[in-house]
Amino acid sequence: MSNLFDLLVAGLATGAIYALVAVGFTLLWQTSQTINFAQGEFVMLPAFLMLAAMHAGAPFWLAIILGILLSMILLGLAFKLLLVDPMMRHGVLPLAIATMALAIGIKEAVKQFFSAEASPFPSIVPTGDISILGHAVSLQSIGVLVLAIFAVLGLTTLLNRTSLGHQMQAAAQNPTVARIIGVPVERMILLTFLINAFLVALASLLITPIYLAKFSSGEVLGQAAFIAAIVGGFNQVRGAIAGGLLIGVLDNLAASYVSTQYRAAVPLIFLILVILFRPQGLLGRAEERTV
């Protein structure tokens, strides 16, 4: 039983990180129909930006701030202006393929300029245990979970409770009408790209101490977050959150109770079931598009 509890906590902590990344997926999809297959690499890169800042002599806190700012410039602003905007005109598929190329480009660049080897990365959450209901739970798991929950709560508050959030939702749901009523749609779309960049940088900060900074570490994350987004519902932020947590827990339970060899297959089987029986995702709404 204590084993189950540990697995749930660890699974939720990993799942919370998947959720952060998956939310970014859904945000970009909703506002600009961008399926970003480089999302995993977007999580890998900020850790290296922070490491580079630290190698240049910056203390950890400053490196975090610089890393997040640089990520927002590179993975938010530059990504939108240099890749999404020019490719968007050609449709969803060419853009998706361009993001795959970007993923390869980022990986190879990190390998070239940094190293193919893994590097250690400091944790912002102290190591150690606290006792919850008689179980020793690692502070790191709790810290990751709490930070991720705060980020997601902050985001949903922004989207649902503020004028800015309402404008973003309007821009996502019906850009033409939003434009007519005076919503600066372009600016709202850019904002979602910046928010996505912030979320992946935060995910990077939380996951890298556990996974280590490595050029290839985005592959697993990107895939898990993509599955999470589809399972939860590609067009709903709350769906992505639920999907992320679910995949995190499912992965850990599968590794423990099914078999370590087949752990990677279980979320995929689940994905197939969702696509077959509930294609809009667990919390997503059915979507029709005019063509």
């Binding site: 204590s2 084993n3 540990d6 697995l7 660890a10 699974g11 990993t14 390998k111 190293s115 193919a116 080897e117 893994a118 590097s119 250690p120 190591t127 245990d129 020793a136 690692s138 790191q140 798991s141 101490p209 556990i210 996974y211 280590l212 490595k214 290839s216 570490s217 697993v220 992965d251 850990n252 339970l253 599968a254 590794a255 423990s256 370590t260 060899q261 752990r263 990677a264």
Partner: protein
Amino acid sequence: MKSTLLAGALLAFATATSVHAQAIKFADVAELSGGGATVGTNWKNGIDLAIEEINAKGGVLGRKLEVTHADSQSNPGVARAQVQKALDAEPYVLLGPGYSGSVKVTAPLAAEAGIAQIMGGEAAELTQTGNKFLFRTSFGQQSSMPKVAKYIHDDMKAKSVAVVWVNNDFGRGGRDVIVKELDRLGSKVVADLSTEAGQADFAADVGKIKAANPDAVFVYLNEEESARILKELKRQGVTAPLMGETTLIGQKVIELAGDAANGARGHVGLTTDAPVDLIKTFRDKFAKKYNYVPDHNGLKGYLAVYMVKAATEKMGKVDSKAFADTLHGLTIKAADEPGILMDVTFSETGDIDRQSFLVEVVEGKQVVKQVLPKVK
């Protein structure tokens, strides 16, 4: 005057090309990127250092050494293609790869070409196929695992053991030998956990170890995964002593795992912290050239080149075909060839016999606790 200059230039050119033609060529195929990048990079740097040293002293039998490095990307399929390409250039000796899986698929190619292959793999089965051209630079699992099992049983006094291994040729080979040995000695294996190469999340595996509550945990994974599981073991508060092989307590693992590596123990065939003067000198030279302290793979690459030097000088000629025969059964003493660092004997199967060490990580440093002598 003009013609003298021209003649001089021609002579210089002719000398340069003839020296070039006479160079002894090595081909190295190693894990320079991918999961084994730590292994391959150390191995390559060790080779380069040895060749630089030997060339600075005039080469082998008056001929310079030359090496070409190729990247296997830690992938057996790529390794096979690279080895085939390397063999087509007819090198004197083939060096690498470091991963057992890659060695397994490339060894038949080298044997067919009749070229000796000096590699870093440690899987037991590699030298049990009757291949006459394959040589180790470190212990095979059949030599090291019995020592490890004995230590777990006698010194750690563990009655129950959890065994965590990586599901590839290297991991499976080690797992098979240690489980058999532990069983023979009377230590019970209470958890037998396979993990995947490149695995990032070890929460579930460590959860299973915790549930099994063993007296000791034997961890047999590649370097990066070792670091990740060490962190997870610490995160989940597993207090049972940890025992492993070189891959659990290597320099890179200590760097990656930080505090979490403290207290882990391992049997080590080669370590730069060994209380051996020649190894200390090697370590200093390596650190000076590359600005970091190598792990055992750096030593393996270095030794591979000196194995070639010693065997070639013993033959008194550069003969690719006779090389393997010479190395079989050869004992190289460090007193005669300092580059070999410790006395070593090669068996007829290409396995080695050498002293080894029992190491514990104390405050981020490998500390040698025991020296285990050469068997014969």
